[in-house]
């Protein structure tokens, strides 16, 4: 990929779980942090941000401006159209090299699907759970968080969308002056008639008041014996294993090292 110049960060409004008021979403702030750092390290990279929402979100969006983002574009959602389709229509017009989003901004099962909807409509590949972004010799490199602290490296050769992991570097705190001075720019979405007509609003799941959430003590098979159930419960806990007393430290050390090697956690 040639020199990366234009990044757009998708910013949602998060919820403060204590008072249910809006605030910046922490993982989106981390996505913005990655983009801002990238912009600081690479002259000429330009960072834009986009939100699809209503005027009531403005207060929370100022937190992002406070991080040093000069301006933030806001699109009003079209009635009957997925917000992601509105975002995608705007983004394809602007031709960004890289679109960044948070991995999940809401709690609940439907969270995190927004970036995928955008990517699908723009036909962009998605790289999930990114923690690091850098450019060296005109090549864009990204690191992805994998299980057990591993970071998978990717070379990015074309336009793409990345979601940022909560394991990415922490976001800087917003400054009040920057938050006040930054501009929230309402984009008139009526100008943009490129919205995919098939992108109707998804049928949303039915909501009900939360019922108590219990870990399952039942078993799938009605005839499972007490023995099976006992095994199932104890198998998860592990423990109460072998006890070696009166063993020489030398032998203990050998045995532990052998076990660590067998489990593949120590270098050979």
């Amino acid at each position: 990929m040639t020199k990366l110049t234009r990044i757009c960060v998708l910013l949602a409004v998060g919820v403060n779980p204590a008072n249910c008021r809006g605030r910046r979403s922490s993982v989106d702030a981390q996505a913005l942090e990655l983009a801002l750092r990238f912009g600081e390290q690479n002259d000429g990279a330009c960072v834009d941000a986009l939100h699809v929402g209503s005027p009531s979100d403005e207060r929370s969006l100022r937190d992002y401006l406070g991080m040093g983002l000069g301006s933030l574009s806001i699109l009003a959602p079209e009635p009957g159209v997925e917000p992601a389709a509105t975002a995608a229509a705007h983004l394809s017009e602007a031709e960004y090299d890289l679109v960044l989003a948070g991995s999940a901004a809401r709690d609940g099962g439907a969270s995190g699907v927004f970036p995928y909807q955008v990517a699908k409509q723009m036909a962009l590949p998605v790289l999930p759970d990114v923690t690091h972004l850098e450019e060296s010799d005109g090549v864009l490199m990204a690191k992805q968080a994998r299980e057990r602290g591993v970071r998978q490296k990717f070379e990015v050769r074309g336009r793409s969308l990345m979601t940022v992991s909560p394991l990415a570097p922490a976001a800087r705190l917003p400054s009040f002056v920057l938050a006040r001075e930054g501009t929230l720019r309402w984009v008139n979405s009526n100008d943009e008639r490129r919205i995919d007509p098939s992108a109707e609003v998804l049928q949303s799941p039915k909501m009900r008041a939360a019922l108590p959430m219990r870990k399952s003590l039942a078993t799938f098979d009605p005839n499972a014996s007490a023995e099976d159930r006992l095994k199932a419960v104890t198998a998860l806990k592990g423990g109460a294993g072998k006890l070696h007393d009166a063993m020489e430290p030398e032998l203990i050390a050998t045995e532990i090292l052998a076990r660590l090697k067998a489990l593949g956690v120590t270098p050979d």
Partner: protein, 410 residues
């Protein structure tokens, strides 16, 4: 009233209902006989104060004599014979068969070295929960290589699709799964609740135009439920479901077996050029990895005296250092290394605890560790109960011995 009836063991509730039944039948002789039976022998006594029947916990306990000569509670006494013989005999599990299934539940597995991970088992159990024992519905396990243990985990069919778990953002997997849902009646797509599983679930949901259910905690044959809005509400997903299941919330498959017969859907991944090139994993020094992510944690407790030795050992082993609160309070390790209720939690593959007592507050932090090894001078320390293997020895001696063997292997 025959003796055989009288000799039957009654639970408290059954005894009372049996009495009631005899009274209802106006069989007073039987009722009186029943009431006069020596209740203590059945583990009951009559409360002096209320004259009500009470359970006698002491009478129900069984004691054995330990090697030390002191009486010990026999914890196996209350369990059925079957439990005590666990493992001794294994009867073949009944096999559930489906012939000519019309509807399908697709389970996409991650696998680790050809074996089912815990998340994969949960995924299959969730798929099983949706399919139930309906003879017309089959659970198909899809993976990118052969797996062992599929029949016991709940798969009716399986298919190996090479490249299924590649994560280079090509959408080839999603396209293949989409074509599967056009080809046949799919009731649900279930993924393992891992980063990769959630990624594919979300992108398939976007492709299919449905709302995904990530981390469902209640799954039935035609619905699944996720928690949202800061725990205020439940979202009930119906129709074609794309989900991952929350671990521990799906009833496990225990005593049944399934066919796990090969299946041929005919879908394959379209080769596609991707602009994301995988350059392989990068391992950072173990000590820089956050405790939550670290695969191998070396944890010191109040029993460790030589901290230089501890640090050297951590470097030699390439382990992530951690400590108990006592250790962090004393300043041997920084506060962000504290594991436990008021520190961080670890889900390490191996947790090596040296000179650590294993107070409950600490154990809370290692709930999700896979294997715990402990070295302690006190065989009664709580960590010994939690550990998979424990050694009664001096921590410093074991550490210096380990370091010696690592530096100069013979």
């Amino acid at each position: 009233m025959s003796d055989s009836v009288a000799r039957r063991r009654y639970s408290l509730a059954r005894l009372v209902s049996e009495l009631q039944r005899q009274v209802d039948r106006k069989d007073l002789r039987a009722a009186i006989h029943l009431a006069q039976m020596p209740i203590q022998s059945r583990g009951f006594y009559t409360s002096q104060a209320s004259r009500r029947l009470r359970k006698d916990p002491w009478a129900r306990r069984r004691y054995t004599v330990a090697a030390s000569g002191r009486p010990r509670l026999d914890v196996n006494a209350g369990l059925s014979k079957k439990v005590m013989q666990a493992g001794a005999t294994s009867t073949p599990k009944p096999v559930h068969r489906v012939v000519d299934p019309e509807r399908f539940v697709i389970a996409v597995l991650d696998l680790e070295a050809g074996r089912l991970t815990a998340a994969d088992k949960t995924c299959l159990a969730a798929a099983r929960q949706i399919a139930g024992l309906d003879p017309g519905t089959a659970v198909i396990a899809l993976s990118d290589s052969d797996a062992v243990g599929l029949p016991e985990a709940g798969a009716d069919r399986y298919e190996v699709i090479p490249g299924l778990r590649a994560s280079d953002g090509r959408f080839a997997v999603e396209a293949a799964l989409c074509s599967l849902s056009i080809q046949m009646t799919c009731r649900a797509f279930v993924f393992s609740d891992t980063a990769l599983g959630r990624h594919t679930a979300r992108s398939l949901a976007a492709e299919l135009g449905v709302t995904p259910a990530i981390g469902a905690h209640d799954i039935g044959s035609n619905y699944c439920v996720t928690r949202c809005q800061s725990g205020e509400s439940d979202a009930v997903h119906e129709g074609l479901m794309v989900l991952t299941a929350k671990e521990g919330f799906v009833p496990p498959v225990l005593s049944m077996s399934f066919e796990a017969a090969p299946f041929q859907s005919g879908v394959s991944l379209a080769p596609a050029e991707s602009s994301l090139v995988d350059l392989g994993p990068e391992f950072s020094p173990a000590d820089d990895v956050a405790l939550e992510e670290a695969p191998f944690v070396l944890c010191g407790g109040g029993g460790v005296r030589d901290w230089q030795l501890f640090n050297d050992l951590a470097v030699a082993l390439n382990a992530t250092r951690a400590g108990s609160r006592v250790v962090c309070d004393a300043g041997h390790l920084p506060r962000d290394r504290q594991v436990g209720a008021s520190g961080r939690s670890s889900s390490a593959k191996v947790y090596l605890a040296l000179g650590l007592s294993g107070a409950v507050q600490h154990l809370q932090g290692i709930e999700n560790c896979e294997e715990v090894l402990a070295v302690n001078t006190d065989a009664a320390a709580p960590i010994i109960k939690r550990a998979d293997t424990s050694y009664i020895a001096d921590a410093d001696e074991v550490m210096s011995e380990m370091l010696r063997q690592l530096v100069a292997p013979e």
